[in-house]
Homo-oligomer: 258 residues x 2
DNA sequence: GTCTGTGAAGGGCTTCACAGCT
DNA sequence: AGCTGTGAAGCCCTTCACAGAC
């Protein structure tokens, strides 16, 4: 039986059968953070930074510096002692480790409110993903153009995935259609699926799935607030003001520039 | 200094100063899964199920049965040995534990593509959240109506949050505005923020934040695929077919019905 | 002196196996 | 007989502290 949910709290003990790639030994938790570091490094690079220390990068990423160094150490030696990390070099190293240097091609199924938002979101290209196909079942939607792509009928999905050489499928359909679409994506040979349906979809072991469930995020938020707010309900507006004054930590500090 | 990122891999060791609530002792990982169980229980209830066993609920949620029982045990005794769990009762118990029985009121800032999708998403009401305010900076957008709510100018944000008695703020603005909006939400007294900006926003300790970063989800997906696909690239379409035949596990099984 | 890389200690979560109730 | 609740073992991850390179 296939496990369906990976979601936000993955505990996949599953390992590939062969031990070829170095990837194998990177902890799941570290992988998630590597993606964060990559994003922050992008901001630093845009600002013209050349070298960054573990402390600075850690602060900007919201983690401790020791944890950051440990995380990076899984990729091998990346920095220079007494100096710091070369921004461009580290960035390339992480991209390579995450497999982003091959350029993923994304197909999106379900062009409702959310699908339209995803199709129009420009942030993907900047981070190594290109949207290559849009699909929907509604004839009123098929044929329309979003972000330079024409929406196709979902019946063409499997064939198109192969033609487009897609590597990632995104499911943004209503819940009732999610499993069916998922099966088609899997049948077409995709091994990466990102689902916005709250349902736990059935997938074979060789397919990787992540789920984004917005209502669930809010529920966890709700609990954590309750946990941090014992009945003695302290109003403390000046803590907010103090923190607000700090500003984005990527903008100050002693980052080396050209 | 405040840590900004909680995100998908939270490790917040932070604890409330007083130890009043029972909440305190529930592991973070368990909280995340409780939200999943709650969703599955909702589906079961809709189907008319009265009693469910740990094994069935676990399968439908994508976790092991032992883990599920352990998770539920943090809420105290909830089932009947030799029988199973009362669906309605367990559902109410989890809702109460997550603090969802008080009805959260949500304000959304940033009515772009994503914001519009969120505003129009019907799934929130069904799960105990009601959208009570929409805000944007663009005069062309302010005044329009989405899902029965009129978009207000973001300058009214702080005052409106208080008037509307909002408890959760959602940030769906462009990155450049995110920190500013965040500060305003915090200043208005909100203690729960859900951000769709990839930036690590600065918040004071008493505020709980979760971040949803779509590009990051895809990056993690990309890596996990690479990890599970050693160079010997095995095509295995029949695994897909086998799994597809299983169907949603909430639909079969020996769930007790009226 | 500064900052990275890392063994070792510690904590939290998962898994196992079974005691206990119906 | 069946299923829940739970101590205990084991594992993974985080944190600490320092050796090592510059």
């Amino acid at each position: 039986m296939a496990r369906g949910v990976t979601g936000a709290a993955p505990s996949a003990p599953r390992r590939g059968p062969s031990a070829a790639a170095q990837h194998r030994d990177i902890p799941q938790a570290t992988v998630t953070r590597l993606a964060t570091y990559l994003r922050v490094l992008g901001v630093l690079a845009d600002e013209g930074a050349l070298i960054v220390s573990s402390e600075e990068l850690a602060n900007a990423s919201g983690v401790g510096s020791a944890k950051l160094r440990k995380d990076l150490s899984f990729l091998g030696p990346n920095g220079v002692r007494g100096v710091g990390y070369d921004v461009a070099r580290l960035r390339a190293r992480i991209e390579s480790a995450l497999g982003l240097d091959r350029g993923h091609r994304v197909v999106l199924v379900g062009i409702g409110n959310l699908g339209r938002a995803l199709a129009g979101y420009g942030g993907f290209d900047r981070r190594g993903f290109s949207m290559v196909g849009l699909f929907d079942r509604d004839p009123a939607c098929v044929g329309s153009t979003i972000g330079g792509l024409t929406v196709r009928d979902v019946t063409e999905l499997a064939d198109s995935c192969r033609d487009l050489e897609a590597t990632i499928g995104v499911i943004a359909t209503p819940d009732a259609a999610a499993q069916d679409v998922c099966d088609q994506l899997v049948g077409a040979g995709l091994r990466c699926i990102l689902s916005f349906s709250p349902l736990a979809l059935e997938i074979p072991d060789h397919v990787e799935m992540r789920r984004v469930d917005l209502a669930m995020e809010m529920q966890v938020l709700s609990f954590n607030m309750a946990r941090n707010t014992p009945p003695d309900e302290q109003r403390n507006p000046q803590a907010a003001a103090a923190s607000a004054a700090v500003g984005a930590s990527t903008r100050n500090g002693s980052v080396i520039r050209p």
